[in-house]
Symmetry: C2
Subunit: 243 residues, 2 copies
Amino acid sequence: MLTVHEVSELASVSVRTLRYYDKIGLLRPAMRTDAGYRLYGDEDLARLQQILLFRELEFPLKDIRRIIDDPAFDRTRVLDQQIELLELRREHIEGLITLARDIKEKGATTMGFSAFDTSKIDDYTRRAKESWGRTPEWEEYEVKSAGRTHADNKALGDELLGLFKPFGTMAAEGMDPASADAQAQARAVQAFISEHYYTCSDEVFAQLGRAYGSGGEFTSNINAAAGEGAAEFAAHAIEALLS
Amino acid sequence: MLTVHEVSELASVSVRTLRYYDKIGLLRPAMRTDAGYRLYGDEDLARLQQILLFRELEFPLKDIRRIIDDPAFDRTRVLDQQIELLELRREHIEGLITLARDIKEKGATTMGFSAFDTSKIDDYTRRAKESWGRTPEWEEYEVKSAGRTHADNKALGDELLGLFKPFGTMAAEGMDPASADAQAQARAVQAFISEHYYTCSDEVFAQLGRAYGSGGEFTSNINAAAGEGAAEFAAHAIEALLS
DNA sequence: CATAAACCATGACGTAACGTCAGGGTCAAG
DNA sequence: CTTGACCCTGACGTTACGTCATGGTTTATG
């Protein structure tokens, strides 16, 4: 069990970065002390290694999370593609070195911009991401959201958030999350997601429910729109519904 | 003469990036058409090449500007150090590749974090920047600003901006930038800079004056604090003073 | 010659991945 | 029991652009 500072030194990342990764749910420490100090275990370090490899390849943190949290995450295959990408990057650097040498000897040349072209790397990156993103839910989401505008998406999101308001009032009134009303509302949410986003099976919904109550982005968004405690209440209702 | 789009395609940078580089004064196109369209010449392309090389090395744009606008800019020496840095980067990537291979074969290892250590690169980068920044003005600035707090610097900046207010009123009243009052005020600014920042020779001051009137950051900051037209008026006054 | 398609401009707002205080607990050592 | 080295959570700042919104310009085409 290592503290933030220790991990920071070991892995050459800033303490702020570790706190940030915790906040966005990319790397949560295995446990906390009574005082709230973060303590990282071996698993966390392994995960951090994966994260840093992706970061070197300039993957956005959101994508990194999606990839390594994917249930279909295949470590060896991902590593193979990471190696491939690293090799492409090495070639890119080598191109830049020869360019710099050329400029030094022959002066700047108008034709010497091809070394800055990253389309090969970008292509491979895109294909790799696609190959990792091909889960059925993702496919479906792509299809359903294909024809939507920015405004459509916002309206849909607002509508979904609206479905949480009853949870907010129920929470304020101290109702039971296992009550029929709460259960019905939970089913409504599940149906809405299935209709507009992707087929929301009980299993997927259960996982989603846990995310609602976990104190992350979901929690704060929902509570901002539907009142304090709405997200946690919803999480409990969903748990009760599916167990 | 190439348009933004053409340069964008040639050099694999976005049009937005070119507009941004123009705005911050990093890469201003050689000319504009009557309609205001940017037109880039050969010099601009050579400069862009330099910029992109630095960008690959993750230099902040401000530093890039400082380096290539430095009167003591030595192209060959800079290229040598860029090549050195690129080679360090290649080694770094190679370290990551062997790490990824190791993980693939033997699983994640706690000791496998040294590949993420960039201190060698950082050290070399720091030394290179120092070697480029060692102009007399810079040294002096370092010394004079050594003991200042954040608040001190803000106060000083405000005071300097205050010296531009007379220019603002003069501009509003349609006065002549070559008048004695304007000249005196310009000398006051020069003296203030010499005292609190760095010895502001006539030559340096002339260059600074041009920057005031060039429509960049200087211009907008001054005009915001001292009234519309103050910066341009100051630029003319300085020009008149020194010619 | 008009009109659509493709390009250009500025301005304003948004974003990612942190850096950097500010304000305040914790804990081992002397 | 205090001091210095850590830790915490906000909250605001920064860099290097992406992304509209809104509107002028140029050129290929019917």
